[in-house]
Symmetry: C2
Subunit: 257 residues, 2 copies
DNA sequence: AAGTGGTCTAGACCACCGC
DNA sequence: CGGTGGTCTAGACCACTTG
């Protein structure tokens, strides 16, 4: 019922066919409210009854109707203010949850065979194309390639802050990718992700085996712990055959009886 | 390169500088637990104390500690099972919330002046490059261009199902874009968004004023209401100067005193 | 079977903010 | 000021699932 990426991250309601799952009160209420919004019984901008009124209507405690409403607020469908009450929000954006899994999983989940190859690892790299990020910290610069069924899938170009992650210096990245190693080993408190399209430069075209200037899909990610940069990575995919898909279902699909 | 959509998650409290905001019990507890996870007091894979134990430790009711934990579960940092207890999740993905606002807002929020121009609107278009979607429903096919400070910003290529949205047939789209009109007028129950990079075709290069085959960032979106397709849209941006940014802050930044 | 998380209640009190 | 949503409690009962 929540937003999910297609790749993994199972929706928490795995439905058994022919099994009517018990629906909790707050789920029933949330679904009912969702329907009233969709069918414009409560049109955009209109006010809803108070919590107490709804609690009485649905025959539950106030806390239960609150729980249903909270989720709708999180989805951006309702707006609440203390004295003003609850209104149906005017939509001015599409929101969904983006999930970018470990590359290996991404590949294997698609049914392909995963391959990995370390291209280079050396100390003392400079921040890729920006400056000031790592404030003179000792850096490890790693380049590696992820393969799907033997074909280049993703080029990973990464800087690791050895002041924060000293273990990285002695870690052997010829078998495990820094992508996977870091995600599991190193904690972080803040992540900034950038998605963009670019024309392939020489390095990208060579390793991804595509024509120069052909489009690549780039995911850049900065990871911080407290106020220190942990790592900065650029992941480039050949545009052909790569996309990110997110799906959002506001309303649960009822089982065909 | 100013265009972007930003969204953060996990730190929904806008802080006033120099104003120590009252922190609720569940916020304090959530922050404390976040710190223990970040600092590996509770390392990945380890088990946490039971709810009752934590409630006692923090001096609150069980429901309050539950509320804090629920948010951490939503963020994918904790995993809970009934008899097994609560464990720190092994991270195998980066999640964040992606927000794609109405184009006009996206442009004006970046400080630029918004412009709009309708290119074509005609009945009876066919599904863009796929088939079977609209099942023979009457369609309206609209092309339009969004401008930022007079420069082409986004090409919008859209099909609208007139069986679901009959008002669209008589709506004048020369002043308001279908993007904006639909989002505010028409309810939907399910959205599927695809992000990808492509090489510009003739139409894209002409309207976006970029060289053919140069990279474009494409956002495709299918919107359904119940089981009917409402609209299918392809939004193409010149890759240079367009990106999508998401930021996730697990831990609130404490105010400098 | 027992222990854990999950739901729900009934009520108290608080804090914000529109009237 | 008063009404609304927001927080918190203490406790009951349920349902899952693992040891």
């Amino acid at each position: 019922m929540h937003n999910m990426s297609i790749h993994n991250r199972g929706c928490q309601s795995p439905r058994q066919p022919n099994v009517r799952q018990r629906m909790h009160a707050y789920e029933k209420i949330r679904t009912e409210m969702l329907q009233r919004i969709s069918q414009q019984v409560w049109p955009a901008g209109s006010s809803l009854p108070h919590e107490e009124q709804l609690a009485e209507e649905f025959g539950v405690a106030r806390g239960t109707v609150r729980r249903a409403m909270e989720q709708l607020v999180d989805q951006g469908l309702l707006e609440r203010k203390r004295k003003a009450g609850t209104k149906v929000a005017a939509r001015n954006a599409h929101s969904s949850t983006l999930t970018i899994p470990v590359v290996r999983r991404e590949v294997t989940d698609s049914g392909a065979e995963y391959g990995y190859s370390l291209l280079s690892a050396r100390k003392g790299g400079r921040p890729l194309d920006r400056s000031g990020y790592f404030a003179g910290a000792p850096l490890l610069h790693i380049c590696c390639l992820h393969l799907s069924d033997g074909r280049p899938y993703q080029l990973e170009d990464r800087l690791i802050n050895l002041a924060v992650v000293p273990e990285a210096e002695v870690q052997d990245f010829s078998e495990i990718s820094p992508n996977e190693w870091l995600l599991q080993k190193v904690p972080y408190s803040s992540v900034c992700t950038t998605l963009k399209a670019e024309a392939a430069d020489a390095k990208q075209s060579r390793h991804l085996q595509i024509a120069q200037h052909s489009p690549v899909f780039v995911i850049e990610r900065q990871t911080r712990l407290d106020k220190q940069q942990v790592t900065l990575v650029r992941m480039s995919h050949p545009a052909a055959g790569f996309s990110i898909i997110t799906q959002t279902n506001w309303i649960d699909i009822p089982d065909p009886e």
